[in-house]
């Protein structure tokens, strides 16, 4: 690969994308292990327990997305600023440090798993805090890597021409990196612990990551369908205003039940209730711009509907971008809104409902657009003018999407059983919990989740096949 790339920044981006795709596979694999354990509890018992499989499942999720995000920035920087990324040598060095650290962390998760109840475990094995389990030594490594990345972005943005997209990314990435520091301390007070833990988790996925996606969507619309930059950037600013306006104080919906004061009920409920609005805006924006540029193309002399040229220069990437617009709204917006009001959340908090939302939201909001960025990189690396769908790319999109949607539906049903039986009816005790888990509806939902997980994995295999082969495929316009 990479033979058609003259920019070193773009070359580095392909490294990031490659590593991200591998980790994506690991995420799915360990997700399957955890899903099997719901159906067959004895599977790998005391070898790779659910806690280990699940920890790797969600850590791999965060890591591959961060890698793909860094890759996306390195990919778009030369296009947006008109210059080669500053400090690219440092960027390449940091890539290897980052990748090596991740491999070590995962091996320790797998082989050591747990440690004694003292500081050495927190420093060297795992921190035991969902999503940010990485041990403290790795935390410092991540901070160094993030600082280097932000420095590259800022120096390039200040030296080259700074577009609206780059300005948004600069502000967003510094917040993204800074927030990680909130998860790097130990306290005996579990309420305090979770208060700051949510600063990292929520302000990442419901604020800074969403704005990042807005910037990527803007870049994608300009590069894939040739949308008008001025219009795209206006939408981007509206999205930033709405995303941060609702997302920052929407943090309150995690502060209903962790010991924090009652005023968070109102703040959390009503700010986070607005969180779907920018996602609707993004959805409308993407489809509107598509229709508009296609309409202009038709207006310019190609009257005949049948012979009009599509404005889409990268079919698979654009498919993933449109799925992003839809999935973000559905997974993050609708599935999130379902249980964001405290009256509902009192019963849904900590059930499979959250898990259903998590699956569709992470997929719809982030996985889709990052896979789209990978297709842009494949197009660029192979010097392709118009990248078309192949059989494999269509199978990949269809299987992954229907797999994730299927898992979401199954988990939502399981969540209802848990909410009604374990929570509302039985009162949330140990016995109540297992009463809910033993119900037929719950058990069957878990069977379906496993089936749909396998479908997703099959789709992933097609995706990898397409990633590896589509560049050489003669169907594309070169």
């Amino acid at each position: 690969m990479a033979n058609n790339i003259t920019s070193e920044s773009k070359q580095l981006a392909t490294w990031y994308f490659t590593f991200a795709a591998i980790i994506f596979g690991a995420q799915l694999l360990f997700g399957l292990v955890a899903a099997i354990q719901y159906v067959m509890p004895g599977f790998l018992f005391e070898i790779i327990d659910f806690s280990v499989a699940r920890m790797i499942h969600i850590n791999a999720l965060v890591v591959w997305m961060v890698f793909a995000m860094f890759g996306s920035v390195y990919w778009l920087l030369p296009d947006e600023t008109g210059i080669e990324t500053v400090g690219i040598k440092l960027g390449k060095l940091l890539f290897w440090i980052f990748a090596a650290a991740i491999v070590v962390v995962v091996l320790v998760y797998l082989l050591v798993q747990v440690g004694p109840a003292d500081e050495t475990t927190i420093w060297f094995i795992n921190e035991g805090r969902e999503y940010i389990e990485a041990p403290r030594w790795a935390d410092f490594g991540i901070v160094v890597v993030a600082l280097g990345f932000v420095a590259n972005l800022f120096l390039t943005g200040m030296k080259g021409q700074r577009s609206g997209i780059v300005t948004v990314l600069m502000a967003d990435m510094i917040a993204f990196s800074g927030l990680y520091l909130c998860g790097m301390f130990f306290t005996d007070n579990i309420s305090m612990d979770q208060y700051w833990w949510w600063w990292v988790i929520h302000l990442w996925v419901e604020a800074t990551w969403e704005v990042f996606v807005g910037a990527l969507a803007a870049y994608g619309l300009i590069t894939i369908i040739g949308a008008h930059r001025k219009v795209v950037e206006m939408w981007l600013w509206i999205e930033v205003a709405m995303l941060f306006g609702s997302g920052i104080l929407g943090l309150g919906h995690h502060y209903f039940w962790i010991g924090t004061p009652e005023y968070w009920w109102e703040i959390g409920a009503l700010f986070s209730a607005l969180e779907p609005l920018p996602l609707v805006a993004m959805f409308i924006h993407v489809l509107y711009d598509w229709g508009k540029t296609q309409g202009q193309e038709m207006g310019e002399g190609h009257i005949d509907e049948d012979h009009v040229k599509s404005v889409v220069t990268n079919k698979p990437a654009f498919t993933w971008f449109v799925l992003n617009a839809f999935g973000n709204f559905l997974g993050a917006g609708i599935w999130g809104f379902f249980h964001t009001l405290p009256q509902v959340n009192l019963y849904t908090h900590g059930t499979q409902f959250t898990s259903a939302h998590g699956h569709l939201a992470f997929f719809g909001a982030y996985a889709t657009i990052l896979l789209g960025m990978m297709y842009l990189a494949i197009q660029g690396s192979n010097g392709i003018k118009v990248l078309k769908h192949t059989k494999a790319s269509i199978w990949a999109v269809s299987l992954i999407t229907s797999g994730v949607v299927g898992m979401t539906v199954a988990l939502t049903i399981a969540g209802y059983v848990q909410v009604l039986v374990s929570r509302a009816q039985m009162g949330a005790t140990w016995a109540a919990y297992f009463d809910g888990q033993s119900g037929m509806w719950f058990a069957q939902a878990m069977d379906w989740r496993l089936v749909m997980g396998a479908v997703t994995f099959l789709g992933f295999l097609f995706l990898i096949k397409d990633f590896l082969s589509t560049g050489k495929n003669p169907v594309h316009e070169r």
Binding site: E46, S51, A241, G252, W257, V421, A428, F434
Partner: protein, 217 residues
Amino acid sequence: MAKKSVWSDNRFWQRSAAWITGFASVLLIWLTFDSMGQISMGTDADLQSGVTKRVPAPTVINYKITYEMDTKRGHEVPVIGEKEKFFGRDDWSEEEAASLLHLGKLGSQAKNCMNCHTLLGNGAYYAPDLTKAWLDPAWGPTGSMQAMTGKNTKEEAMAEFLQHPSTYPTHARMMPNLGITAEEAKGLVAFLKHMSSIDTNGFPRNFGRMQGAVNGK
């Protein structure tokens, strides 16, 4: 020439985005200062003089904790009652209780509890929520879990279970052996008892109300 509308002007939206983001951040920081004050741990003196704190001092392990409906607030709240023995003592000093809680909190992270259980409702959904586990009737004097471990007190039963979880299966889905030592188990039980005393605004609702109910009947 037609005038350009402010609504389609990039600068207007850029400035609005900057204002909204900045102001929301300032509000969040202000709210955080307020919340920090409210969720910092109380002291032993607070407990002795009956001052209610959202997160009580570690010495709360010397007291009996119940979960009762507060009609004014419209939901259940933990109530700290008279003295109660914890591992045979009700005179754990501030330092002793604090170091026990420290051990327990470290243990909860080192053993990765959160990737099967939920704590304060956050974590994984493979095993029961532990927020009010201390108050679960199953561990009480007439509870099935206490009977199963053959111990005479709630804390000893819990500590026994934590050290040998797969000896006492309650479901096909079992807790694995995590190499928890006797001392660590003691710390973890203290951590659980302390967590049950945190004012969680009524979460979980109706906890332990359905005593003796079988299969939802």
